[in-house]
Symmetry: C2
Subunit: 655 residues, 2 copies
């Protein structure tokens, strides 16, 4: 079990329009790879290639001819356009694939996984198969002594404790299974007992508890592999969309504190059961869980008081790792299973940020690196001269669709990509799952602002160029730019140019929508972007830019010294890096330097689950990371004012 | 706090008719000393000497004259007879005192304390007073980091964990008390937090959980002193008098298992609260608890399954020490307080036996020593050549009054001492609290059988000498020896001789009773002893004697090689050692070699509470103690048959 290295070939797959780049260990089956990446792709024939539901489009021109099964299922036109069945593909090289909405099985677009870095598998819990000698009047050792002595003699493993609840089920399991059992050991403690030989696999959970989303990874700690994963919404959302409103809810009374804790505990229990049952295991087989999250989520999950988190100077209760029996907070795993929660770094820099640093490995990179996890609060880490400094910027929920007139979450029907034609000033949009547009999600808003700026519809202060005839006014006289008309038809894009129409879309319906301006009037139901929306985005990106500038100033380096920018998080992996630069979230930078790594916090949580060394390393990172409070930094206001501006026209990146 | 030695003078006080010998650290106030020994003596004037309720009789002839307060309260006759007020006495030398029933406040006669041996105070929990620096935007350490850093800088104490429930109350206590707090640390974990400086005292509980009785000691872990103690009945008695019936009750269903656990947990919580409130502390200030008990009590207390304990080969679930958060099993102490339970030695040799070995210190004695804890199961340890071997003998509940026709518990009205006149064959009896006799308790039965044998009323096989005219028959024709007539008068003993009448009894009513045989008839209400009762006692003492004989045979030594016999336990300290020898529980031995030490298990539990070294030593004793299963020993039956016999007349010890 020790010193296993992931030695399989790494393959990068870019998946469009999910906007994801996944790193695979291959060669591997296409269907498995996509499912394994947490993308719900349909298939009802268990990969036999008979149901035809897992159609994908291979974007590369040099694709393999269809195999016999594909030839039966697909028509000639599909084959010519590059449509194949995921289950019949072997992913053995870097590839771009497109998954049509008709092949997607999941409504919710949540990212649960990210790119993984290499590390040795060395889990904190290990299993041992024991054949005990039966007790008799001549051999009166207690049950636990018998286990302890056999562990020592057979495996040279020393234990000195047994979990009390495990102790309760122990005599029954021993005697009902002819004294043939498997025990799980953590830190010299027997934490679980199972009948027979169960050492082939050993299950753990890695959880990234976000304010909005919860990513759950089910991991086999023997193989070091992610078996399955699940993204769910954080049900605390019913008590407040953002962190502060949840803290305030919790502060109202003790009942609320319990409520907001229990709702998330129950939801995680449910989702874990679903995930387990889908994989034919029981949640009582899960031996360890790691959980990362921002400091508020961390405190609320543990039922800790949050008053000091909600008031200046916003200090957490603890910066130490917490290891607690799962049952003690109501999480239902194996009898004696523990939850490990790495330390929060500060009141507004949580253990999810720590997990991101671990999961991206930027802490050990030579040179200067920025690690950014975009969210309601955007945490940014600068690694420079071996020193890690982190800040938290109040970027607000605009990128989650909040405070934006037509803003919405990244759900089907949300405009996620926007392109504005420089000549016609008409917008071409792409929606999630190619559904009829019903709103704009974060990446769409970011695109829209960048495109408005590129095409000169707004100036660098973010103000609409009122002379432009393609702008319109709503019934209240507010200036708008319409992205999609409410009476949009389902026609295909009619060759006006733009990204969506360049794709060979194998779908027959629900395609991308483009709304062109026909007159100066628009109705409330048109999906549009107004001046206030643009200011929200400026505030958001300005906050992030301020954080970056202060980090650079504090470290005494300039942006040109930066060797790489790693954008983590679900949102960060859907956005177009070009437009991130074009709205001025960063100074102008070669796009080569930007990498989008997906849910790095989830990757970090998984590493802490699979490796004692990485767990230890994360605690060291937490200790070594210097938290910088932005608002007390002398040049904060100057930076913030400057950061609100958008780039000069010459700084716009075109591709 | 380290290396404190109990250096006060040790004073032995023998208290009659409670039959107790207590070891005091003195000089000390008489009222405090008696209360401190767990004997409920009345006083309503807080020791001012004005209420006169704590009258005692000083048995020694050279007593001090009354002080001015005593002279006011006591009449001349009382003063001449040696009556004094306990609260006005200073116990500064070895002494015999008598406490009349009118001065006793408690009905229940339970022994909670025992003689103590010397050890260094080195408790597992220590308190530290901290003045924290207030958090600010320039000093953003978390609350716990602040505590951790201050502990390190001020006291060079390293901690790395904080109890989760303590973490929850931490921010409130810190902020409501100007950042001035006291923390309690155990094993690098902060387990409790209190406002201000609370380092002057630190409370712990030591509990001896017996099948019948529970002894609770409230201890100050800073001073190393027992503050108060309380003896209560084990409420599980409602589910079965003896261990086996309780195991069977628990085995019937899961509900029963919970019930039998919860009833004792609740009773301990109640009693702890009473004890605390009496001493003006809160049970939330109790930072640690040690609990010893037989293996069945140990398992039932923890809610462990007991099937394997109730069936051959009777193995416990664990022979390891258990350390568990008190709240996890429902015991209400300080937020993060632990319960430490030392390991049981075997199915029928519990941690109370281990605590007895620790509390008497016989493990480290040079020579050959027997340690005996008499109960329903009597555990006997032989220390010989540095090796400890223990057995458990099924002595049965006869000494607790069960299976004896007129048997009863050691409650007021129980005959506890018996003397039979060699000439008149009349019995003189002494009852608990000098109440009218209503039955016989263990020490009374033992005395009765020994006296019947000494006076020749029974032969050495235990058979009644039917020719003796002082025996009588009940209505069913069964031969009896009457100890007390039902129509007894309340007259004083009329000079027939015997112990009771030799005492200067300061009481006016409810004196000792003597019933002489007048004819061959007796009624069912007479308190008498019959042939079956004698057989029960023979079985009980035979079992113990068998255990001793097999221990000796196994060690290859003879009884003459024994250097000392230590009798522990409540019952063991009330019995007359002479009569123990006279019924043949031991071979004939110089009474000098026998010491009665009271509740040695409670003493051991207290040592484990006050000293990490002693706790460690107890675990070593548990490991090193060799359990000998009597029933598989080849000569078991031979020994048992021989042990049923009573001693030859020449082996009777007269004083």
């Amino acid at each position: 079990m020790k010193n296993q290295k992931n030695t399989q070939k790494k393959i990068k797959i870019s998946i469009e329009p999910i906007g994801r780049r996944i790193l695979l260990e291959g060669p591997t089956n296409g269907l498995d790879a996509i499912l394994d990446a947490g993308i719900g792709i349909k298939s009802v024939c268990a990969g036999k290639g008979t149901c035809g539901k897992c159609r994908i489009l291979i974007m590369d021109k040099d694709r393999k001819p269809p195999n016999s099964q594909e030839a039966k299922i697909l028509n000639k036109s599909e084959i010519d356009h590059g449509v194949r069945l995921a289950c019949q593909q072997i992913f053995d090289r870097d590839l771009k694939v497109y998954i049509p909405a008709s092949s997607l099985s999941e409504e919710q677009k949540l990212q649960v996984r990210g790119e993984e870095i290499e590390f040795d598998i060395d889990p904190p819990v290990n299993k041992f198969h024991l054949k005990l000698i039966r007790a008799s009047l001549d051999d009166l050792d207690s049950d636990f002594d018998r286990i302890r002595n056999t562990l020592k003699s057979e495996y040279d493993i020393s234990v000195d404790r047994i979990d009390i609840e495990t102790l309760k089920i122990m005599p029954g399991i021993i005697r009902n299974n002819s004294w043939d059992i498997t025990v799980s050991v953590k830190d010299r403690e027997v934490i679980s007992i199972e009948p027979g030989d169960k050492t082939a696999s050993s299950y753990g959970l890695a959880i990234d508890l976000g304010t909005t989303k919860i990513a759950i990874l089910l991991v086999d700690m023997v193989a070091g592999e992610t078996i399955d994963s699940k993204g769910i919404m954080n049900p605390q959302i019913s008590f407040g969309e953002d962190v502060m409103s949840r803290l305030n809810f919790s502060l109202q009374d003790q009942e609320n504190q319990k409520k907001i804790k229990n709702i998330v505990i129950e939801r995680i229990n449910e989702a874990t059961k679903e995930l387990c049952s889908k994989n034919n295991i029981s949640s009582s087989e899960i031996l360890e869980m790691t959980l990362v999250g921002n400091t508020a989520m961390h405190h609320l999950f543990l039922g800790l008081p949050v008053k000091q988190l909600a008031l200046a100077p916003f200090v957490p209760l603890t910066n130490s790792p917490i290891e607690i029996k799962a049952r003690d907070i109501g999480i239902e795993l194996a009898t004696g299973a523990y939850i490990y929660m790495p330390p929060p770094i500060a009141g507004f820099v949580g253990s999810d940020h720590l997990a991101m640093i671990l999961g991206t490995g930027i802490d050990s990179k030579k040179g200067n690196y920025l690690g950014i996890d975009i969210g309601t609060n955007t945490e940014i880490a600068l690694v420079s001269k071996g020193k890690i400094t982190s800040v938290s910027t109040a970027s607000g929920p605009a990128f989650e669709g909040a405070h934006i007139r037509h803003g919405m979450r990244a759900a089907p029907g949300a405009i996620e990509k926007v392109l504005i034609d420089q000549n016609t000033f008409t917008a071409e949009v792409q929606t999630i799952n190619d559904k009829k547009p019903i709103g704009i999600c974060g990446s769409g808003i970011l695109d829209a602002v960048a495109e408005l700026l590129r095409t000169g519809l707004i100036d660098r202060r973010g103000k609409f160029n009122k002379d432009n005839e393609y702008l319109c006014q709503d019934t209240k006289g507010q200036v708008q730019f319409v992205l999609a008309r409410s009476n949009n038809d389902n026609n295909k894009n009619s060759g006006k140019g733009g990204k969506a129409s360049e794709k060979e879309n194998p779908e027959t319906g629900g395609a991308s929508n483009a709304g062109a301006m026909m007159n100066m009037q628009c109705c409330d139901k048109d999906i549009s972007i107004n001046q206030k929306d643009i200011v929200e985005i400026q505030l958001a990106k300005g906050a992030m830019r301020t954080g970056i500038e202060i980090l650079l100033e504090n470290a005494g380096i300039s942006f040109n010294d930066i060797d790489g920018i790693i954008i983590a998080g679900a949102f960060g992996s859907y956005i177009d890096p070009k437009n991130v630069v074009n709205i001025g979230m960063f100074p102008k930078v070669s796009l080569e330097k930007i990498s989008q790594v997906g849910n790095a916090a989830g990757v970090g949580a998984r590493m802490m689950l699979l490796s004692k060394v990485e767990r230890k390393r994360s605690e060291k990172i937490a200790q070594d990371t210097n938290y910088l409070e932005l608002t007390v930094f002398p040049s904060f206001t100057d930076h913030f004012v400057a950061s609100m501006q958008c780039p000069e026209p010459e700084d716009i990146v075109l591709s």
